[in-house]
């Protein structure tokens, strides 16, 4: 346990000894701050003339402003998480300090969880700006506490999932730049696929003229593909939660993604025991 905390402390401190922590926290505060102001201005324009925006009456603040804003802050994390996680294991390998790390009396779980917790800590520091924004909203408008709590939880769980994927990528790369590039690429593809998913109609795209067997096959694969595109992207499961609607499958999704990639990281670190070249 003490080993895990020692690794975590060193890792967390190193973000703020170097400029990296300030850059990431600063960028996140700036972007989410701009997003917060922009979505508020947008909402105030809606309240002045709802009809112009095709709303019959003044719409719900939580649904129209708060929830999209929270999902947005989670998506910003998607762009910044690779900058947090790229150092975690790739930099140890790059500098050769992996040799120290693996010869100190530490278990794999001390190393992996210690580093993961440090990256979560940085994400929490970043999210403090979102908490301030939510505090401002709660002060001026009657908002359900559940929306605030589960909204923050949704952003946190999204970040946790991003960070676990980033940690996994960092575990098999030697240079932080390639770690960041790979995880950013992966996040971006999932994000683009996710926004594509909204345009995929239900039903079977195969023409009626096709033979029955082919139509069935195409229909089956299309359904699987559409479901994957709708369910797999990390931000897809945050929307409901950001409105205070908590579904077990959304929470389960984040826990599973995080757990799965942490598990893969354990396997990668363990691979040094059987790989010929390390």
């Amino acid at each position: 346990m003490h080993g895990m905390w020692a690794v975590c402390r060193r890792e967390f401190a190193s973000y703020f000894i170097t400029p990296m922590g300030y850059i990431v926290v600063g960028a996140y505060t700036l972007i989410t701050g701009l997003g917060f102001v922009a979505s508020f201005l947008y909402f105030s324009r809606i309240t002045r003339s709802p009809a112009d925006f095709n709303y019959p009456a003044v719409p719900d603040l939580e649904e129209v402003m708060l929830s999209p804003y929270l999902v947005f802050t989670g998506q910003v994390m998607l762009f910044l998480a690779p900058l947090i996680t790229m150092w975690l294991l790739a930099e140890e390998r790059n500098r050769g300090t992996m040799e120290l790390l693996l010869t100190y009396p530490l278990r794999d779980r001390d190393i992996i969880l210690g580093k993961y917790l440090a990256s979560l800590g940085v994400a929490l520091v970043m999210m403090s700006s979102v908490a301030v924004h939510l505090g401002i909203v709660a002060y001026y408008a009657p908002v359900e506490p559940a929306v605030l709590i589960f909204g923050l939880l949704a952003v946190f769980m999204m970040s946790a999932a991003f960070l676990s994927i980033g940690l996994f990528v960092s575990s098999f790369t030697r240079s932080p730049v390639s770690a960041a590039t790979i995880s950013f690429g992966a996040f971006f593809v999932s994000y683009v696929l996710g926004s594509l998913g909204k345009d995929l109609a239900e039903g079977n795209p195969a023409p009626d003229a096709w033979p029955e067997q082919a139509r069935l096959a195409v229909g089956f694969f299309y359904r699987v593909f559409r479901q994957l595109v709708l369910e797999l992207p990390i931000d897809a499961h945050a929307r409901n939660m950001a409105q205070g609607i908590v579904e077990p499958q959304d929470i389960a999704y984040y826990l599973l993604v995080t757990g799965f990639f942490l598990f893969l990281t354990f396997r990668v670190l363990d691979a040094r025991r059987w790989r010929a070249v390390s």
């Binding site: 080993g3 020692a6 500098r95 050769g96 010929a276």
Partner: protein
């Protein structure tokens, strides 16, 4: 303290270390010698628990490196080659990290850091950022992190490489001063250094242990006298004259007008050599003896063919 049995480590098809066995007793300083890429670092990395052996066993303080890695790592201070450090940390910050990772009790951490800083001559360097330290000081920081929590075994991979002569002397003295409390295995390819520091040397070449010799036996009898001769004249005639003498095992040219004679064990052919050369009309300029140095053993060991596995086992058992 360190027991290595038939250790083999392969990287894919390349065997970096083959069937190496040795023991290091408690309190010994043992030097691990070999040309570059001989397998020194690989063996040390296996001992330190950085990577597993392909076959064979290594035990430290009775714990198997493969099955009890945590117990082994608690008892080993390891200085990797090239001294990897965290450049952005301060010396003190880094040592505090090392101390907490090595489970030094929280209230003892400060005192422990002071102790290793003092020991490694870093007392004034605690607040410095590692990035700004010179190579010599980085080496000391590397040594300091290995010393944290006084592990009974120290494994130091080329602790003096890249240092200037004055720094080498300092680090060497530091290592000698550690011998009282630690069992030390250190690697080097600088022979005089090992000769000065170590009680025993292991010579490894192309992944195999080719020689194992204590410094005492190196200096003492057993091996023949070595005679250096400076003489002018026909090279072939000189060598012929030298080889004809009864007590001479071998003679060879070592440079312009310089020859080296290995005498047979117990023989002292100096007088016959002088007589033979002078009477042969050869200009003898000087004739001196020298002790068999580590360099001789080293060159002998790595130039001769690797011993067959069976023979080396037999020798080990008789030793």
């Amino acid at each position: 303290m360190i027991e290595v049995q038939n250790l083999t480590k392969s990287y894919g098809p390349i065997a970096a270390v083959q069937d190496v066995s040795f023991h290091v007793a408690q309190g010994e300083i043992v030097g691990f010698l070999g040309p570059n890429a001989a397998g020194k670092s690989t063996t040390m990395r296996v001992l330190a628990g950085y990577m597993p052996a392909t076959s064979g066993t290594a035990r430290i303080a009775g714990f198997d490196v493969a099955t009890d890695p945590l117990e082994v790592k608690r008892r080993v201070g390891y200085l990797p080659e090239n001294v990897p450090l965290y450049p952005e940390m301060t010396v003190r910050g880094f040592l505090r990290y090392a101390a907490s990772v090595k489970a030094v009790a929280r209230d003892r951490i400060g005192a422990e850091i002071d102790r290793v800083l003092e020991h490694c001559g870093l007392a004034d360097m605690g607040r410095r950022t590692i990035r700004n330290l010179s190579k010599g000081y980085r080496q000391r920081v590397g040594l300091a992190q290995a010393l944290v929590n006084s592990p009974p075994v120290l494994i130091l991979d080329e602790p003096t490489v890249g240092l200037d002569p004055r720094q080498i002397i300092e680090i060497r003295n530091m290592i000698v001063s550690l011998a009282a409390q630690h069992t030390i295995l250190l690697s080097s390819h600088i022979l005089p250094e090992v000769a000065m520091v170590c009680g025993r040397v292991l010579i490894i070449h192309q992944g195999r242990l080719v020689a194992e010799e204590s410094m005492a036996s190196l200096a003492g009898a057993g091996a023949g006298m070595i005679i250096e001769i400076e003489a002018t004249g026909d090279e072939a005639a000189i060598l012929e004259a030298l080889r004809a003498i009864a007590g001479v095992e071998d003679a060879k040219r070592e440079g312009a007008d310089r020859y080296v004679v290995h005498a047979k064990p117990g023989a002292d052919p100096r007088v016959p050599i002088g007589r033979a050369l002078v009477s042969g009309g050869i200009g003898l300029r000087s004739l001196t003896t020298r002790q068999r140095t580590l360099e001789d053993v080293f060159v002998e060991s790595i130039t001769k063919e690797p011993r067959p596995a069976g023979a080396s086992d037999a020798e080990r058992e008789s030793a």
